[in-house]
Homo-oligomer: 224 residues x 2
């Protein structure tokens, strides 16, 4: 039976991107339905009653929500499709889950950088820098985060989803990822050489993400 | 070889309680080392460099952090020890992870109820009530959350960790769980009949948790 795999998607979302990369890694075909978060589709509300957020993966009519939960679902439902994202060792699997969860925090901190100015901006920048230092420390001199650093895995998928957003954080925060985090920058370039990543990231110069942030900033600041 | 299982614990923590219940469910013996969060032990800082938070499970010298990640670790590392917490079906496993993640949000909202007054308290109460409505809706008329409602599982462990805290939220928020959420209240009583739960929850009347909150409230308000 042909499988139906649909992703309720927002093109600029780092969380949706994670799912697209994981599906591409496993070679699973998927239909994408772009969502307008300002005018939510009843399908999204029905499929994600907890949060009404993307991504939502609809697999044969059933919905799975939250990007990291979807990644684990993809791993578990198509175990026969290599490459795996999570290691088989239970301890390393727990560590990968912990670090992937930690990368989620970049999102909230990054929005502060995009929205705030002056002293508050500096506080948010410091918070992001501290976070990225921890993450870069975990990478060390290894080529990837996954599988003891040997290959692209769960944490790599979780973090590379932020690729276009890092460019935007640099623009609003006025800092350079390349000079502040040379190892993370080299890792990101390495990830981009993978077809699953390069074909999924459509906003390679961050321009569309920047435009999205500028629009969101206008809307959010107008509400205050 | 004898296994070393240690929990860096704080007795009033709902997140530590989850781990204790999961270990009790599987019949795994554990040594508890109580932590003082106001004066953090170097062991905690070493074992949880990401967050310096409890719970931390130390299994044969290796540390695993974050209560829900620890629960999954326990499930994966001792698969031969019934009862399981997560269902074998991939879709139901994803749903259990999503709802358990959702229960985490109670913590932040609950602190607002304990710390705030007046209009802000009312907003926080409304937020908690909305959250609990969603959770009660998921329970419906089933005896448990786990395994299609048939038995105690991952979400039950995650939520019952809040048992003593619900009493405290009622006291500060001036509402009654029993009358507002009769199904959740009946579910909590049902959980308490399980030995793994009743032996793990040491603050059955919420008094110690209340004292802890009063002390924390004094300390936090003095800082403002």
């Amino acid at each position: 039976m042909a499988e139906e795999v649909i992703l309720l998607d927002v093109r600029v979302s780092m969380f949706c991107l994670r799912v697209k990369i994981a599906l591409a890694e496993k070679g699973i075909k998927c239909e994408y339905i772009e969502q307008d978060l300002q005018n939510k589709d009843p399908l999204l509300l029905k499929m994600n009653p907890f949060h009404n957020k993307v991504p939502v993966l609809i697999h044969n009519g059933k919905s799975i929500c939250d990007s990291l939960i979807i990644l684990q679902y993809i791993e578990e439902v198509w175990p026969e499709k290599p490459p795996n994202l999570l290691p088989s060792d239970t301890y390393h699997r727990a560590q990968a889950r912990l670090l992937a969860d930690f990368t989620n925090k970049i999102h909230g901190c990054g929005w502060k950088i995009c929205l705030w100015d002056g002293e508050k901006l500096e506080v948010a920048k410091k918070e992001l820098v501290e976070m990225l230092k921890v993450i870069e420390g975990e990478l060390g001199d290894k080529p990837y985060f996954g599988f003891g650093g040997e290959r692209f895995g769960f944490v790599d998928v979780a973090l590379i989803g932020f690729y276009s957003w890092f460019i935007v954080y640099e623009m609003f925060g006025k800092f350079s990822m390349e000079s502040e985090f040379p190892k993370l920058s080299a890792w990101a370039k390495r990830c981009l050489q993978k077809e699953s990543v390069s074909k999924s990231i459509t906003d390679i110069d961050g321009n569309k993400t920047y435009q999205y942030v500028v629009q969101s900033r206008k809307r959010l600041l107008a509400r205050q």
